[in-house]
């Protein structure tokens, strides 16, 4: 067991406990934060003049699974330019936009991130996701099964059989060791099985007598019935299309009445769903409209999906969208239609500041974060690797904290682009407290991770210490120092183990895979048995071979929930 730690004298930001830059000691024992430590064998970290925050929580990054691995395989050219040699503490590997799994874990902890959510898992291929997560070192992780186009879900919801659908979803989450319900272009992926797509949330999905609105609402009801820790996690229809901000708002609005005073929906990588205009020539930012809606409604959370100007790889479950991107760019294209469930697509993509559209996209991500008043509703992400690689998060932090940093980037853009967004006129700058919410406390709360994202007693000892002194530094002016400090954590502690010192990996901790085990009644199990009998008609694998046993996970963290069925 790890010995006791005492982090002395750091400047602590712990928003979930209301701590905003107080000088405090943090004590750790047996992997959790405790009131105090005493005795001889205590390792002391002198955090004077340094920021102490909970370890970062990434609510949405494609790091493991069939889609990600296909991206890795597709792009040897991405890897050759960015290699990681073996060290006494680390396996070798490669980057850049689709890093190998060992490198992924190390690069996250070097930034002080300790929990990452893999958002797109085709349930049929769940074993692949978990094998890769098993080989993603140190960080805690979880993954979201794609359920928005599952034939069983569509059939139950089209007949309004919510409880039966809930039983199926509970079984699916347990069988695939998942954490939350993921929807991607709901209805669109089934339509893509025959080469089509849906264009609005009220389009009929061919053969299934259901609309995306009904899928979203149905799964929202299921989510509540099952008492899952997170809300439904939605990649909207019409992603990446000029004018799609209306789809995003309608998507958020369509579950408003189901909220019951709580959060009901998380719209992910919202930047890609915030376009105004009718075509690429007239495309402009719809972030102000989205922000206005989010400001007026408390049932929604989003993450940014910030663009980075670099050569990256787009990969989503949105098969038709990815095909469209292939036609747009002519770049090589991978497609993978998963039977009975979902699809995926991969296309390399370079974002350029001189492109008007890309520049507007870059602005949109930041507009969303800056125009939404409540920091607990909007989280930092790049939809890695779709907007850019995750190790660019420190850049995003510097842009949030410094108008000057934003202006430096905007100088590279054409005036025509800047006219299409309100970003040049925004002078708000995030404080360290708000950064802590956007990168740790906020996502942890939205995910329902009770012992993460904060530094109170009982929390898992996931702690990041950054070599930057809020009393001496003006983030607005010295944004480069901010960026550098957040790129190389002075210390990263994972479950009480010091795993990073000065931006280098120096230790190891076993990261756990979190998954939700919803308890359902015997009656609900009857539904599952019935599905088992028709399973072979739907799938090409046997019902008995579909679920994953718990010992498949290298380190399982089971979260039991009681449900309403």
């Amino acid at each position: 067991m790890s010995k006791a730690l005492l982090i002395k004298n750091g400047i602590v930001y712990d928003p979930l406990n209301g701590i905003d830059g107080e000088r405090m000691d943090i004590a750790v024992k047996n992997g959790v934060i405790v009131e105090d430590v005493s005795g001889k064998d205590i390792e002391v970290i002198d955090a004077s003049g340094m920021i102490v925050m909970p370890g970062g929580v990434d609510i949405h990054a494609h790091i493991a699974g069939s889609e990600v691995d296909a991206g890795r395989l597709l792009r040897p050219e991405d890897h050759i330019k960015d290699v990681e040699p073996k060290t006494p503490y680390t396996r070798s590997g490669v980057g850049y936009s689709v890093p190998s799994t060992w490198t992924t874990g190390y690069r996250y902890v070097r930034m002080g991130y300790t929990t990452v959510m893999n958002p797109s898992m085709p349930p049929l291929e769940a074993r692949h996701t978990h094998e890769e997560l098993n080989d993603t070192p140190i960080i805690d992780k979880a993954t979201y099964p794609l359920l928005g186009d599952s034939w069983f879900v569509l059939e139950f919801l089209s007949r309004d059989m919510i409880e039966e659908c809930a039983a199926f979803v509970a079984w699916m989450i347990k069988a695939t060791k998942g954490y939350a319900i993921k929807l991607v272009n709901p209805g669109g992926l089934e339509t893509w099985g025959f080469g089509g797509n849906v264009e609005s949330i009220d389009d009929q999905v061919p053969y299934f007598n259901i609309t995306p609105r009904e899928i979203i609402r149905g799964l929202c009801k299921v989510n509540k019935l099952l008492n899952l820790p997170h809300t439904i996690h939605v990649h909207t229809n019409n992603l990446g299309k000029p004018g799609n901000y209306l789809t995003a708002i309608r998507t958020m609005d369509c579950v408003k009445d189901l909220a019951d005073g709580e959060r009901a929906i998380h719209v992910t990588h919202c930047q890609f769903s915030s376009f105004k205009g009718v075509d690429w020539a007239t495309m402009e930012s719809g972030a102000d409209a989205i922000a206005r809606y989010v400001n007026m409604h408390d049932h929604v959370t989003i993450d940014m999906g910030q663009v980075i100007f670099t050569d990256t790889t787009t990969m989503t479950a949105d098969g038709p969208f990815q095909y469209g991107l292939h036609l747009l760019t002519g770049n090589k294209w991978v497609n993978h239609d998963v039977e009975t469930e979902t699809s995926s697509g991969i296309v390399p993509f370079r974002y350029r500041p001189k492109s008007i559209v890309h520049a507007v996209q870059w602005c949109i991500g930041l507009e969303l974060a800056l125009l939404i008043k409540e920091p607990w509703k909007v989280f930092v992400s790049t939809d890695h690797p779709n907007g850019g690689p995750f190790f660019k998060y420190p850049d995003v932090i510097s842009w949030l904290m410094s108008e000057k940093a934003r202006k430096t980037v905007m100088k590279k853009m054409r005036k025509a682009a800047l006219k299409r967004t309100t970003l040049p006129s925004i002078d708000r700058e995030y404080t360290f407290y708000e950064v802590a919410i956007a990168t740790r406390a906020g996502p942890a709360k939205a995910l329902g991770l009770e012992n993460k994202g904060h530094l109170g007693v009982g929390a898992i000892a996931d702690i990041a210490i950054y070599a930057i002194n809020p009393e001496n530094v003006n983030p607005s002016r010295d944004y480069k120092l901010i960026r550098n400090a957040f790129s190389r954590a002075a210390y990263t502690i994972k479950s009480g183990e010091i795993v990073v010192k000065d931006g280098k990996v120096v230790g190891y901790a076993q990261g756990k895979t979190y998954w939700v085990d919803v308890e359902i009644s015997d009656e609900a199990m009857e539904t599952i048995k019935m599905l088992g009998e028709v399973f072979k008609q739907y799938y090409t694998v046997e019902f008995e071979n579909y679920p994953i046993p718990e010992d498949y996970l290298a380190a399982s963290h089971r979260i039991p929930r009681k449900s309403g069925i």
Partner: protein, 475 residues
């Protein structure tokens, strides 16, 4: 007697998971639902098994397994640039350890894709890959093309589990139209004349598996086969195109021209009359969802990676007119898994060199056949593969002139030539683990019986070798 159902068959890329085995006295005595190759494996696995052996004075002598593992570790620890080859007929768990061993040794690790679908992977890296999982084939596809692949010989149950003869959710009703009848008669006349003309020049098989007019009228699933000989699959096909050996590239490119409504100035391409090609292209464009399954007929003949690129580009271009997919027919039951595990660990699917301390990939340079032919290696470990039987003579000569370690459940030409033989348990029968079907769906292999005494799972063998190598190197 015990019956176990939902057993996964560890032979080919189909990875059928609906087998039933009967076990008596710790041995499998009957198996149901398997094809003849799967059945042969389940009924014969126990017959010829290896014992641990080390070559002393030119002879293979039986030793303890500990001694064999130690000798293997010694050979590898001393080598400057060892090859770790095979990996396609074992579990992902074993492959993971193999990669760790290769990284520790600073050697080269490669899997059987290097002599099979390596060119397909190279082509995918150039142009992409519109793919799917096999259930889609069963439910949606109404056109199935096999090019340079003969599932009847290597993926026997593919046809009725997943493709041409399977049953799925979306069935097109057979509905005859008068217009279709007229058209069919005209088209049949044209193609019969064309094939007579070709037959006058050289002997070829008839291009139609069944009565042509029937084929043209049927609105349900169609099957097309392209191959250099009339394979058993071709007998069942609605259209059979006999392509001249080494001319697949020309034929694929000609198809691309026709798909884009271009015209061909010649009468035939690669031995196939243009009228027949035009008819097949018509079927391709008018299908609802089609698929091009291809095999080593394309990867191994002239053109290699360019053949696959052409096939993938053809598929991509068909997506502008209808929905189309492509899939390489992977031979071994976990070669896909080998590519997958290699890719997530190193970024690259095969031919990975660790001599710099980080993964480096350059097939042609870091692929084992090339390394062997250039004489650049000084030891090999072969696991779950038989390169002495499968590599060209020049490569084998080099391999056997250096110390050779073979890990295999049964005797093979490779174990006969090895310096160390380590007996393994059969994955999927005597040891559990994960394997990936040729469409990338992971399925858990089961352990249904105990291995014979002294035979241990590959994963354990490689782990023990790794630990011993570390002990030797670090003291």
């Amino acid at each position: 007697m015990v019956t176990v159902s939902s057993v996964v068959c560890p032979v080919c890329g189909c990875l059928c998971d609906d087998l039933e085995v009967e076990i008596e006295n710790g041995r499998i005595i009957a198996v149901r639902n398997a094809c003849s190759v799967g059945e042969a494996k389940f009924l014969n696995y126990w017959k010829h098994r290896n014992k641990p052996m080390v070559r002393k004075n030119g002879e293979l002598i039986e030793v303890s397994i500990d001694e064999a593992i130690r000798k293997a570790a010694e050979i590898l620890a001393e080598a400057k640039y060892p090859i770790l080859y095979g990996w396609s007929s074992t579990t992902c768990e074993a492959i993971k350890v193999g990669l760790e061993l290769a990284e520790e040794l600073g050697g080269v690790i490669d899997n059987t894709a290097t002599v099979c679908h390596g060119p397909s992977l190279l082509a995918i890296q150039d142009v992409g890959y519109p793919g799917f999982t096999l259930g889609q084939s069963r439910h949606r596809f109404d056109l199935v093309i096999y090019w340079g692949s003969n599932p009847w010989s290597a993926h026997f149950r593919d046809l009725d589990r997943y493709s041409a003869f399977s049953e799925g959710r979306f069935q097109i009703s057979a509905w005859r139209r008068a217009f279709a009848k007229v058209y069919a008669r005209i088209a049949a006349k044209k193609m019969n004349a064309a094939s007579k003309r070709t037959a006058a020049k050289y002997a070829v098989s008839p291009p139609f598996g069944s009565e042509l007019v029937d084929t043209l009228l049927r609105e349900d699933r169609k099957l097309v086969v392209v191959d250099v000989r009339r394979t058993a699959t071709a007998f069942k096909a609605d259209y059979f195109l006999q392509v001249k050996p080494n001319k697949d590239f020309e034929l694929l490119q000609a198809f691309r021209v026709l798909v884009k409504d271009g015209e061909l100035d010649v009468d035939e391409v690669a031995g196939v009359p243009v009228e027949l090609m035009e008819e097949v292209v018509d079927v391709m464009i008018n299908c609802r969802v089609g698929v091009l399954y291809f095999g080593v007929g394309l990867t191994m003949s002239k053109g290699k990676i360019r053949n696959i690129e052409a096939a993938i580009n053809l598929t991509k271009e068909l997506n502008a007119r209808t929905k189309f997919h492509i899939l390489p027919m992977r031979g071994h039951y976990n070669v896909t898994g080998a590519n997958v595990v290699f890719a997530w660990t190193t970024g690259f699917p095969y031919a990975v060199d660790f001599s710099h301390g980080y993964p480096y990939y350059n097939p042609g340079e870091t692929s084992v056949v090339d390394i062997l032919c250039r004489g650049e290696t000084d030891a090999s470990l072969v696991i779950a593969s038989d390169p002495v039987a499968n590599f060209p003579k020049k490569a084998v000569k080099e391999m056997v002139s250096n110390p050779l370690i073979a890990i295999d459940p049964a005797p093979t030409p490779t174990t006969l030539m090895a310096d160390v033989v380590i007996p393994a348990a059969y994955a999927g029968i005597e040891a559990p683990g994960t394997a990936y079907r040729m469409d990338h769906v992971p399925i858990s292999l089961r352990k249904v019986v105990e291995p014979p005494p002294g035979c241990i799972p590959d994963e354990v063998i490689v782990k023990r070798i790794l630990n011993e190598v570390r002990r030797l190197r670090r003291g």
